[in-house]
Symmetry: C2
Subunit: 244 residues, 2 copies
């Protein structure tokens, strides 16, 4: 499993992903789930992937070398698409190409064709957008009402987002929230693990604002994690006791 989170807010985009891949409990490895294309002045595109690693790596490969979009003749790459909508279409087309190659065998082995992607960023004069692409290659876009998407092991980290995140949340606060949401998941689920990748993009800057990896030695993540745990316990103890 894995956990990835993308938020498109008034001020821009925050994306975070873990890096644990497991096939059963014996075969655990570290693979980054986040891929970033940063061409200042032209485009910033961040993709986070969950699901079968062989599929998601194949899809990312197709995005680099080119896939043909529906109703087009020439293949495009993530560097030649002209809008974020086309970038999401390209991920969908890459997923469908991967399905044509591997889908049947995977389904016969009962593994299923399992993958999902978050793709956020901004291309040229187009506005910043965030999409979630499903394993069928179709996709949905975030809005001001529903300003975040999660893929993978999403439930542990959802309650804090439902309470504290809104479209107007500042990017530094959103980054902090992303770390807390990830920390809750790390604590409760073995299949999600450090290091984390975080990317921040300021709307209309057309340049990656921040990309940082958090491992177990990162002092800020360690502080957030410890203080959040203590805050939760303190907040719990401060609640009124029942009268029963």
């Amino acid at each position: 499993m894995t956990y990835c989170l993308g938020m498109l807010l008034k001020d821009g985009l925050v994306m975070i992903s873990d890096s644990r891949t497991n096939a059963g409990l014996d075969h655990i490895a570290v693979f980054r789930k986040m891929t970033i294309w940063n061409e200042p002045g032209d485009r910033v595109i961040v993709i986070a992937a969950a699901g079968n690693l062989a599929i998601t790596q194949e899809v990312i490969h197709f995005l680099h070398v080119g896939v043909t979009l529906p109703d087009e003749e020439e293949p495009k790459t993530i560097m030649s698409v002209t809008s974020m909508f086309e970038a999401a279409q390209l991920v969908g087309a890459a997923v469908r190409r991967s399905y044509r190659i591997d889908g049947e065998r995977l389904e016969k082995e009962n593994s299923g064709f399992n993958c999902s992607f978050l793709i956020g960023g901004q291309v040229g004069g187009d506005k910043a957008r965030l999409f979630q692409v499903y394993s069928a290659g179709n996709f949905i876009e975030s809005t001001a009402d529903t300003c975040y998407f999660q893929i993978g092991e999403m439930k542990y980290g959802k309650p804090i987002l439902d309470r504290a995140l809104s479209y107007d949340t500042k990017l530094t606060q959103a980054g902090k929230l992303a770390l807390i949401s990830m920390d809750s998941t790390l604590r409760s689920n073995l299949s999600v693990g450090l290091p984390l990748d975080m990317a921040v993009y300021h709307r209309d800057s057309l340049e990656l604002g921040m990309h940082r990896q958090f491992d177990e030695h990162d002092p800020y993540f360690a502080e957030i994690s410890q203080r959040w745990s203590k805050s939760l316990k303190d907040a719990f103890l401060a609640l009124p006791d029942p009268s029963w």
Copy 2:
């Protein structure tokens, strides 16, 4: 879906369950998931059930009218078992009887034979125990290290338990934690709903300590829910901002 939680702690047992049943999104109804047998001086047994409602109701019916345990000849009921272990065996035997009746048809319709149970309490001179019974009729018992079990929609409410609950937690605090864990689940998942049933049993008392239903008008639950939400936001805001 549903969410049920059982904790067996140093001082006794706390169990909580929601009451939403849904078949798709159109067919939503209120069914209590908790059944209590309280015979002061003799036994207190609390069962919470998740899964297919037709199965779980059938299992509870069998516990009332009697099921034959493995290697025995006469049927027993939940009121005639002589220990909590035997009570858990009885739930397992009832589940297997239900499977013999309904299992094949359910699997043919791809519904699957889906049910799980928490059973906690104390019988006569036996010690207080808590078990989780699976849909195969087998079961596991809680320990001081792993002092709580969850069934159903469990992930949203797990992080707070992993941080704040231990075997030494007092029963009133554990009850408060159970409400918070449930509140996190209610907020993030439509398939879990009010009213809640909570039962508290003080170890070796052989008498139900408390049974209370919390609906949307319950002032204590409303206060816990609002203050917890505010505490989380405040705690989040009080965390140090990142320097990036």
